[in-house]
Amino acid sequence: MREIEPAISARGVTKSFGRQRVLDSLTVDIPSGVTYCLLGPNGSGKTTFIRAIVRLLRLDGGEMSVLGRPVSEVDKIYSKIGYMTQHKALYPDLTVQENMEFYAGLYGLKKQQREARLEELLEMVDLSLHRSRLAGALSGGMYQRLSLACTLIHEPELLLLDEPTVGVDPRLRQTFWEYFNRLAGEGKTVLITTHLMDEAEKCRMVGYMRAGRMVAEGTPEEILHLAGLRPILKLWLAEPERDAAQLQAQGYEIEVEDGVVQVRLESHAQIKEVLTSVSPLDMRLAEPKLEEAFLRLSEAT
């Protein structure tokens, strides 16, 4: 599944602030053309990692390459990178449109191209109606949306988005994720940090950081599997004890809780097999949560 040349490749990357080790020989490959979600508790080093990628800070050790270049040369390809900082970088005393025009200008977009981009992105972040409002007068989520639009204005190949969806309402978050996945489909690389697990599930790949290290990495399915989490089928039965015993005899992993029989499935295909043996009054399927997987994985390390 992975492309030959990763968009970002970090090998044993280390960074300390004073005596605190924030990146602890972090090794990770971020393939190009995917959405990659970086997860981890507050202070685990996500922002620090992103800042190291764009060389806003110097590494103490390790090697890193970005879009095929050593990180020391990353300033030569800044026009290919879109960086959305965690503290949203906008001018509150400029209007929505002026902010976007400014960033478009920095990247040297020509008038025609700039206007087309502006319209497209205003549409995407749903700020067309607010284009002449001062950025400082926008609501929190709108401010966030404008910041994203400014980051995307020059059609970067590599997107580094530090918590781009904080405070954005669910409907727009949906739009954002569709957009991110479309960008990835066009061959762009999108690295996103978030604290929302449901967003992580929408990414092609996820990586979970803790105390400057990568605890687990892979597709969401791989992570669940790695943590040993499986879907659970809950059955409400007329005679729970008898049916439970029968299923157990057939080799299923069973647990009974408050008269509800819970079957741990190896795969979703097993649902059909289970239903040939018993006829439940009611049933529910509980999918495993990525969140739980990470909790397990970080306990294990």
């Binding site: 806003l56 110097r58 503290h87 906008l90 001018y91 001062l134």
Partner: protein
């Protein structure tokens, strides 16, 4: 880094102008503060300078004469280091005359434009030498002819206080506002996170600072135009040179103030701390730039410091342009040169301080 591109400089300049334009209070301050200051100083300092301003270059040996001159109520004595200082101040209209005392005799320099005052000075020196001679006779040492003094006339002006202060205030106001506004603007770039975003864009540090210089210059032009207008029309300060030359001086001074502000923004964490720089950066300039009292009267050990401050040169150049009709060629050395060097040093310093890498 890429080569500096005019396009990106223009983009930054346009943004700075848009921001300043929207900030009504700052615009108000930029335009009206100079006017208010002028009116204030205009009333406080209007009218002729009272008393006789006499320079005193004391080379020793004439204690009695010196004591006599100092004791005269009407005389405002300014102690100077050398005869050439005295000459310059008289020609600039800031002294009415000077007495140069030395072992080889006494010389009196007089302003030819105010003969009445010259007469008073001559009379005082005559009286002083007479006392001195009387003292020497009682102690038995007779030197006779040596005590006679030589007088020389220099062509100066008869200036009002506002005439000398007005041009300098123009410089002061521009320096003050540009420094503060620039420092605050750079602090905001930092705290808003926009600086971090710049660093990860094709915009170079040189382009960014240049963009600021360009954007602020438009406001400096607006500010100096209104101030020049007020100084000349309301207060009748002469404008003998070209207003464009005066504007060029102010623009160079403003550019220097901007990069100085950008540089010092690195040492402040908040807008509040910027305000705390005022006593450190602004006050010494006001005191030492030669607006209120001539540089020649600043104590010797501080004087080199005066010559390091941009406002000193700007005030001198503006005075030359407005009062004496000096052209660009006349103020090129040392004034414009010094302002240019100051700008370049702090442009480099401000640019280098905008570091991309942290730690």
């Amino acid at each position: 880094m890429n080569r500096p591109a005019a396009g990106r400089v223009g983009v930054v300049a346009l943004r700075v102008v848009r921001q300043l334009k929207r900030d009504r209070r700052t615009i108000g301050l930029i335009v009206f503060a100079p006017i208010v200051l002028m009116i204030l100083f205009g009333y406080a300092l209007s009218g002729d300078m009272s008393g006789v301003h006499l320079g005193l270059v004391d080379g020793g040996g004439h204690d009695a004469l010196r004591a006599h001159l100092v004791s005269i109520q009407d005389f405002d004595i300014l102690r100077l280091g050398s005869e050439s200082d005295a000459e310059r101040l008289i020609s600039e209209g800031r002294l009415d005359g000077a007495a140069v005392l030395g072992p080889d005799g006494v010389r009196v320099l007089l302003d030819a434009s105010s003969l009445q005052i010259s007469g008073a000075i001559v009379a005082a020196v005559q009286a002083g030498t007479a006392t001195e001679r009387a003292g020497q006779e009682t102690t038995g040492r007779t030197k006779g002819a040596e005590s006679a003094f030589v007088s020389r006339y220099i062509f100066g002006y008869d200036l009002k206080m506002m005439d000398t202060v007005g041009p300098a205030i123009l410089g002061l106001v521009v320096f003050f506002f540009t420094f503060i506004n620039a420092a605050i603007a750079f602090i905001r770039e930092r705290s808003q996170g926009t600086l971090e975003k710049f660093m990860v864009s094709p915009l170079s540090r040189v382009e960014m600072v240049s963009g600021y210089v360009l954007g602020f210059s438009l406001f400096t032009i607006l500010q100096s135009a209104t101030t020049l207008f007020v100084v000349t029309t309301l207060f009748g300060v002469p404008l003998r040179g070209s207003p464009l030359t005066a504007m060029a001086v102010v623009l160079l001074l403003g550019a220097g103030a901007l990069v100085l502000g950008a540089f010092f923004s690195n040492f402040a964490r908040s807008e509040f701390q910027v305000v705390q720089f005022i006593p450190l950066i602004i006050t010494p300039q006001i005191v030492l730039c030669g607006i209120w009292w001539p540089l020649q009267s600043v104590p010797e050990f501080i004087r080199p410091f005066s010559y390091m401050l941009p406002l000193t040169y700007a005030a001198h150049a503006l005075r030359a342009v407005m009062l004496k009709g000096a052209g660009v060629a006349d103020i090129l050395y040392p004034d414009l040169l010094a302002l240019g060097i100051f700008f370049l040093i702090f442009f480099a310093a401000a640019t280098l301080m905008l570091r991309r890498e942290v730690a």
